[in-house]
Symmetry: C3
Subunit: 362 residues, 3 copies
């Protein structure tokens, strides 16, 4: 109480720069409303197209989309995912050591230009590591539209540093996570499709749902080289602020010595490459899980191949079927021979092992 006015002011001032949450700051059941709502526009769509080059007709053409039952061309599912994910970074993973995985991601409503997205997360698990310097945070995130309609839900788990190793653990619970999503929940974001109006000449392939068999493997042939400007523009488009993607000065002192590309970048590249062989897989209904086997850096060329892991009809729907795919992306390694595992480990060229459900017209 004796402090002079200068000191009093300092006491009053809360730090303005957010240091992010540390492991001991989380609580099981905690709800976090993330900042910066975002109205998605045709401008976002165009920039996403310029950065990844997807060619799926439904997302590319209002006319095509309307003909089969959408009110207009929906926004690419992965652009929606990246925007929602980006919002969680300042609260969840600013002090992350590693993003360990995600599961149970499914799309619940189509997003159109003009929709405004927000993100809400719930802490569903916490597990301190034996070193007591870090812990694993399990978080379920829901992306929502302006009217509260959920558009996307997913769980991720991430290793987060503790501020103080001596702090008591804030909780001790590892949630049960789905390894694959039930086909029942697939298709929520897909309106009834007028399959007769689905023009397979315009869509780029005659192959519909029934033409794909479990076990079939597809080389997506093309390769695409990543530039620093491209992944920075993409990651900023999602308002994802993770420093390691942008700060070469700091990255030079990291173990990588260079900027690390946002994990979602390789997912979008692989998805765009997969058009060659999966042109009618017009909608990602769910992501069962994904593993970033190795980090991606600018200057390398990404290739991809896919395997059909499963095939499912959707309860009550005869318009579309679901294919469960594994898409593998590689670094500087064409995929004609489907590189995947080398013994128990992944082939050293593998970047991404993504397990997800797509919808195809029947």
């Amino acid at each position: 109480m004796n402090a002079g006015p200068m000191r009093a002011v300092e006491d009053l001032l809360m730090p303005k720069t957010s240091p992010g949450n540390f492991f001991e700051d989380f609580r099981i059941g905690q709800l976090i409303q993330h900042a910066t709502p975002r109205t998605v526009s045709v401008g976002d769509v165009a920039l996403y197209n310029g950065l990844f080059g997807p060619r799926f007709a439904v997302q590319s053409s209002d006319v095509f989309a309307k003909a089969i039952g959408y009110p207009r061309a929906p926004v690419d599912d992965l652009l929606v995912f990246h925007i929602v994910f980006g919002k969680t970074v300042p609260d969840i993973s600013l002090n992350a050591v590693a993003n360990l995985g995600y599961a149970g991601c499914y799309f619940r409503s189509a997003v159109f230009p003009g929709d405004t997205l927000t993100a809400l997360s719930e802490i569903i698990g916490l597990k301190e590591n034996s070193s007591r310097t870090t812990g694993i945070v399990y978080v379920r995130t829901t992306g929502m539209k302006q009217d509260g309609v959920p558009v996307l839900e997913y769980v991720r788990w991430v290793m987060v540093r503790k501020r103080d190793p001596g702090a008591p653990t804030p909780g001790d619970h590892v949630p049960r996570l789905p390894t694959t999503l039930d086909p029942k929940v697939l298709g929520e974001a897909c309106p009834p499709i007028a399959t007769a109006a689905y023009d397979t000449t315009l869509s780029g392939s005659a192959h519909r749902f029934a033409d794909y068999k479990v076990g079939e493997r597809i080389d997506h042939v093309d390769g695409v080289t990543v530039e620093e400007a491209e992944h920075q523009i993409a990651t900023r488009l999602y308002q994802n602020t993770a420093r390691i993607h942008f700060d070469l000065f700091g990255a030079k002192q990291s173990r990588f010595g260079r900027r690390l590309i946002y994990g979602g970048h390789v997912i979008s590249l692989a998805r765009a490459l997969s058009f060659n062989g999966l042109a009618n897989a017009f909608h990602i209904a769910a992501i069962n899980g994904g593993r970033h086997v190795a980090p991606l850096f600018a200057g390398t060329t990404v290739f991809a191949w896919s395997e059909v892991l499963g095939s499912a009809e959707l309860p009550g729907r005869t318009d579309v079927g679901a294919l469960r795919l594994r898409t593998v992306a590689t670094c500087d390694r064409p995929c004609a021979d489907f590189p995947f595992k080398a013994g128990d480990d992944y082939d050293p060229a593998v970047l991404l092992d993504l397990d997800y459900w797509v919808l195809m017209p029947r």
Copy 2:
């Protein structure tokens, strides 16, 4: 017939990845409807502007465009060209050795944000080369709007590999191609212009149609250096999938050793540079022909100059006149002395020799 179930499945499976068409797959008169319709948006326009920096007032301002007779600012002619061209790549030129030329390109209807473009091609000529390993495919492509209205028509010819040198030639006909378009067909895509409302202060130059004389040469002064990220973003924006533009890993094994930039990129750069000297050439009405004299690679700086090759009134129109231009683009070579030919050959700095018609207000 004795094959087990696994084998039977394999027999049933058609290859999902398109290998593209080889020379012997084409037939004269064959019609090809290309995939991936595309709704053009203000987002595409903004990204095109960021990549090339055109400053023509008609395409930049809805207010300017409305004042002179357009319903709103039309989409840049070359963006329309690139989008239509991009659609043809998977069907026509995936197995191309070289894009040999184009001719008879003219714009038939203005395109506005919200319009959906598709492309239809007809094979109009085929000529096997004496080596029997390749042949030349002549194709007329029409870009169309959602309502079937043609927006653009052009012929290109391209050398395509044969899958099997022993395959019989699928046809033997070289079509007659126009060397320049008749002014009669020019201006279809340009509404009647209220020339009194065409504000030459806002457009950036007082020089109208009558101020340009045949033989006049204009140095466009400025130079622009191309980055890998820029041409990749542009080419993906057009959904052009030609591998050589994106795949550094593969390109390292090619004769160039690096990514080759899409030929249309230098055309757009030269057009944007040409604003300095041709600010009122607000519409490309037709492209008589173009020659990519040398390939463009990232890191080089493009300059350009133009010569007025011809000047024509349009039948029945007093609002606009047509100038036939040669625009030459060069690599790391300013154009104050108009570099063009060195003896019979092109000056080694020349990248592009483009012969086209523009419209200017009278």
Copy 3:
């Protein structure tokens, strides 16, 4: 009069390429309407977001903006500034030696997608340098909407070459320039804000106007590395044609040996970084002045910190208050210790010293 027809034509031909204005071409009181009106779109906004990554909720979300009193999300203030500034380059600074400073910049009306911007400048001062080879041009520029409503006003002064050192000086007057803008003029571009509806969870910070004290300093923590493709795309987006930003071939012969990045680029980077610490500073009301202490080149990483220089209530308004900020941007130098001056000079890492007013909800 004896010249043959060829010569006569040459005499008639005015040069088509603009050489720009030299010092002796200006007159005090001269008005210059700049070329290329521009309709701003959501595409421009998306590309700006991808290039800089701002996260201010008002500009990001139509829903947030409407809730507090805007008709929809306004266009980022700096995007408006850059577009207006870009228009002046061909007339004012094509023959500039150096951009010396700007002052008295204030925003007079919010800009929304669909608005068309033009720029008008008045020459308000001229001062020949003692060498007689250059002079300083003082110019007041007003950016306007389609309906003539001013959106932005600023003064800049720039050193411009003379074409002919012997030419008489066109004027001799140094105008009085404001060093800081009166809070009275602040807020014209900001509608009445419903502060109760301003959701500080969604905006990313609980700190409102009253939480910031004069003298407080904030490290914005993050760093962002600039790529050549990024600044070129940004500068073309503004239709800014200054050669030195694009022409590596020419730049190699300059004193820098490489492309110089447009000064506005570092302002936009610093503004985006400043979100971390100033998340509710949703509107730049005015720029008192800015100094580009050192040039920015691609490959360097930009950091920033801010100091609160002043705090002001706005006459008649209880919804928002104005903070006067100094934001300092540095090159390859984190800002935890607030680098600024080293003796009388700037710290060698400093790139930008910007003095401006922001509005914050009360």
